[in-house]
């Protein structure tokens, strides 16, 4: 094994380790819902290559309003799925789409893009 091979191997392994850590184990951006005067828990979410914030904490039994603003034209994020709530929405580019739901059970519910690549979670407490 020459120097170049050693360097490539070490760099490759380090890079692979970084990819695994970065995409699977690094900390996510979490936000808690803000309750409006009418008792609706509101959260603004920006959609641009992903969801920010991508972990949303809400309380059980209170209505939730998620405002998705899609800040891109990329087709990957054009669809929003929340299968646990039977919700499928088209998110028009550069517009806000409101999604309303009433979480009755505590737990973590995933929301994704149409193909399940972009992911976020609704944590109901």
């Amino acid at each position: 094994m020459d120097i170049a091979e050693i360097i490539v191997t070490l760099t490759g392994v380090a890079l692979a380790g970084f990819v695994i850590w970065y995409f699977f184990f690094s900390a996510r951006q979490t936000a808690s819902a803000v309750s409006s005067s009418s008792g609706v828990q509101e959260v603004d979410i920006t959609v641009k290559g992903g969801y920010s914030p991508d972990v949303i904490e809400v309380e059980r039994g209170k209505p939730v309003q998620l405002s998705f603003y899609r800040d891109e034209e990329n087709s990957c994020s054009e669809e929003l799925l929340m299968p646990d709530f039977s919700i499928r929405r088209d998110l028009p580019a550069f517009k806000t789409t409101l999604v309303e739901l009433l979480p009755q059970q505590a737990g973590t519910f995933t929301f994704t893009c149409g193909m399940g690549m972009l992911r976020g979670s609704l944590v109901v407490k």
Binding site: V8, T9, G49, S52, N74, C76, C113
Partner: protein, 645 residues
């Protein structure tokens, strides 16, 4: 294109100075990369910032690596040559990959639009205006949004019914195919409900608005289909799990491919080989095929179902319907019409049937009793002339009396005639006993204190029931009937429609128990019902199917709602579910096989055995085609048409 052509023309390339050629290729590639391919890079970067990776990440890293390597070889060829490497460039690879993936995206978008065509067509059915009758009597066209509950709306022949309501005046035939899948127009008269978006055919009528906006039947159907399209089928769980980790995993595999090729290939070729295989792995992987496999089929199928009057609540219901091996039918309202109809009209000896029917109908027209309505329907169907009756009087629990053409007419049960002191002739009595033995309700008719005839009334079997049951049996499904009737009547109806197994004398509270009984035999049971007391059984069954005229409670408990009161809907629902799940399985199989074979081949697994390497350009072509193939397969469901006998 010029890039690829140039690379395929070695003779020409030999005549051109390599360095100048590389600069030329660089100039040609830059617009492809920076303009056409820009969205891949911005999307990948945006995703990276959110710790998300998608298909664009793979394309961006793959083409980016090929381009950067080529750029280095163009700008600093000496650096490569000093290390014994040919300064090869991969501009054609970069540009061709971007072109093919973009082409794939266009095809995918076109196909994806078609998956939601049915629901868009449903939404487009909504009428735009309504002709409202103002209090002064003038008719005004108003936008549909301004129509309010209680408004009186006029519908002329050939016009669309604006919204839901009850007919107050006039009669017509209305085409309700868009909501129920029923191909024949439905007769509508005063008091009948009409639904928005249906098409008025022959007559003109006025109706009072009872529902507007989101409460209308059309809006409810659209909502149900939309909800179903947002649901996830259990069959997709594995694909979902794989999708969640797919792209980062492929990136790791690509990095390891690079390292292995660099470490194991001959020194002079290791860098280009490592690069080409690295790019091929990234490009061939297709997360889209996995992601599209189930939802596209569900989209097409739920829309198609709605087109045929089968409303599927969610993808899980569709999957359950696919597994069904036993269909349990609640007799009343499913196999039979669920409303009484005249089965026998028996005049006593010497009585002219047509005149007697006129007289009977004249009395019954004044009554609101369901049995009287059945007699009137029968008389109308026989086109008996309408004459009037006077002095109508309903006698509770027994029948009715009135005067027709000066004759005193009595219609009711045996007790009514008994109490009036009217004796039944022996022949009439015998015929009545025969009808009673067939579990029919008997109405006795007396004119001027003489028994002159009998009317047998029973719930009748729908014409389509036997054929639909036969079809279900041909599909390998056992059809079981349950009813509150006694075993003899149950056996008679079962025999009439070809059912071999039935439960008789089942109380409404025992229906769910019968479902459990069948489930305990290891069966996957579909329950078909229409009434409020069917709700527990519908919920207990593996899949509940609520019939058209059914109650809201029944529909709430059902996974599938049949808009039409016809067992053919059950056949359609199960057939559609079978075709859909088959399509999903094909899609998932293809997506998994494509990726599990494609990635190792792109990584160079075949090279040690056959000396075969996959060109990244071929990988791009395969990738673009894979998601289009899955979509095309799902779109085949658009040609679904229900099997009929």
């Amino acid at each position: 294109m010029p890039l690829s052509m140039l690379m395929l023309w070695p003779a020409l390339m030999q005549r051109i100075n390599m360095q100048w050629l590389n600069y030329g290729l660089l100039v040609l590639t830059l617009p492809v990369l920076l303009y056409s391919g820009r969205e891949f890079f911005t999307s990948a970067w945006n995703g990276f910032k959110h710790r998300a990776a998608n298909m664009d990440t793979l394309i961006a890293v793959g083409t980016g690596a090929a381009f950067l390597y080529s750029l280095a070889a163009t700008v600093a060829p000496d650096w490569f040559m000093r290390r014994g490497l040919m300064p090869e460039v991969y501009y054609d690879t970069t540009a061709t990959i971007i072109a093919l993936i973009l082409l794939g995206k266009v095809l995918e978008l076109r196909a994806k639009t078609q998956t939601s065509a049915a629901i868009k067509a449903l939404m487009g059915l909504q009428a735009k205006t309504a002709r409202v009758v103002r209090p002064g009597g003038q008719e005004v066209d108003v936008p549909i949004e301004q129509v309010q509950l209680g408004d009186l709306v006029v519908v002329r022949p050939g016009e669309k019914v604006a919204t839901d309501g009850l007919i107050e005046e006039g009669h017509s035939a209305v085409d309700e195919a868009m909501l129920t899948g029923e191909s024949l127009p439905v007769e509508k008269k005063t008091g009948d409900p009409v639904f928005g978006a249906t098409l008025n055919k022959t007559g003109s009528f006025r109706f009072r608005v009872t529902k507007v906006g989101a409460d209308t039947m059309l809006a409810q159907i659209v909502k149900l289909v939309e909800d179903a399209q947002g649901s996830r089928a259990p069959i997709q769980r594995l694909a979902d799990k794989v999708s969640a980790i797919f792209v980062p995993t492929v990136v790791v595999i690509a990095i390891l491919t690079f390292v292995l090729w660099f470490d194991l290939a001959p020194v002079e070729a290791r860098l280009p080989l490592a690069l080409v295989n690295f790019v091929a792995v990234l490009i061939i992987a297709c997360p889209c095929a996995l992601g599209l496999a189930t939802p596209t089929a569900i989209m097409v199928s739920t829309g198609k179902g709605a087109e045929h009057g089968v409303l599927i609540r969610n993808a899980e219901a569709l999957e359950k319907a696919y597994q069904v091996d036993t269909v349990l039918l609640d007799k009343t309202g499913t196999i039979t019409r669920g409303e009484p109809a005249v089965t026998d009209f028996v005049p006593a000896d010497g009585q002219p049937a047509d005149q007697l029917l006129q007289v009977v109908a004249a009395v019954e027209r004044q009554s609101e009793h369901p049995l009287a309505e059945a007699v009137v329907r029968y008389a109308d169907a026989q086109q008996a002339p309408v004459i009037s009756a006077t002095g109508f009087q309903a006698i509770e629990g027994k029948g009715a009396k009135a005067s027709v053409n000066g004759q005193a007419v009595l219609i009711g049960n045996a007790r009514l005639l008994e109490e009036a002191g009217i004796m039944l002739p022996e022949a009439v009595r015998r015929q009545a006993e025969e009808l009673l033995a067939q579990a029919k309700t008997v109405l006795y008719v007396a004119v001027n204190k003489q028994a002159v005839g009998l009317i047998g009334v029973a719930d009748t079997v729908r014409e389509t029931s036997a054929a639909a049951i036969k079809r279900l049996q041909a599909m390998g499904i056992e059809v079981v009937m349950m009813t509150g009737d006694n075993p003899q009547t149950a056996a008679q109806v079962a025999g009439q429609v070809g059912i071999k197994r039935f439960f008789a004398e089942v109380l409404p509270s025992g229906k769910a128990g019968k479902v459990k009984e069948l489930q305990a035999e290891g069966r996957t049971v579909a329950m078909v019902g229409d009434g409020i007391n069917d709700a527990p059984a519908l919920a207990q069954a593996d899949i509940g199917l609520a019939m058209g005229g059914g109650t809201d409670v029944a529909m709430e408990a059902a996974g599938i709602t049949l808009m039409r009161s016809d067992l053919q809907g059950v056949v359609t629902a199960i057939d559609l579910s079978r075709q859909t799940i088959r399509t999903i399985k094909q899609n998932l199989f293809f997506a998994f096989i494509y990726n599990t074979l494609g990635i190792p081949i792109a990584a160079g697994l075949l090279y040690p055995f056959f000396g075969l390497l996959l060109s990244p350009m071929l990988a791009a072509g395969a990738m673009a085609l894979s998601s289009v193939s899955v979509l095309t397969n799902s779109l085949r469901l658009r040609s679904f048409s229900p099997v009929k006998n």
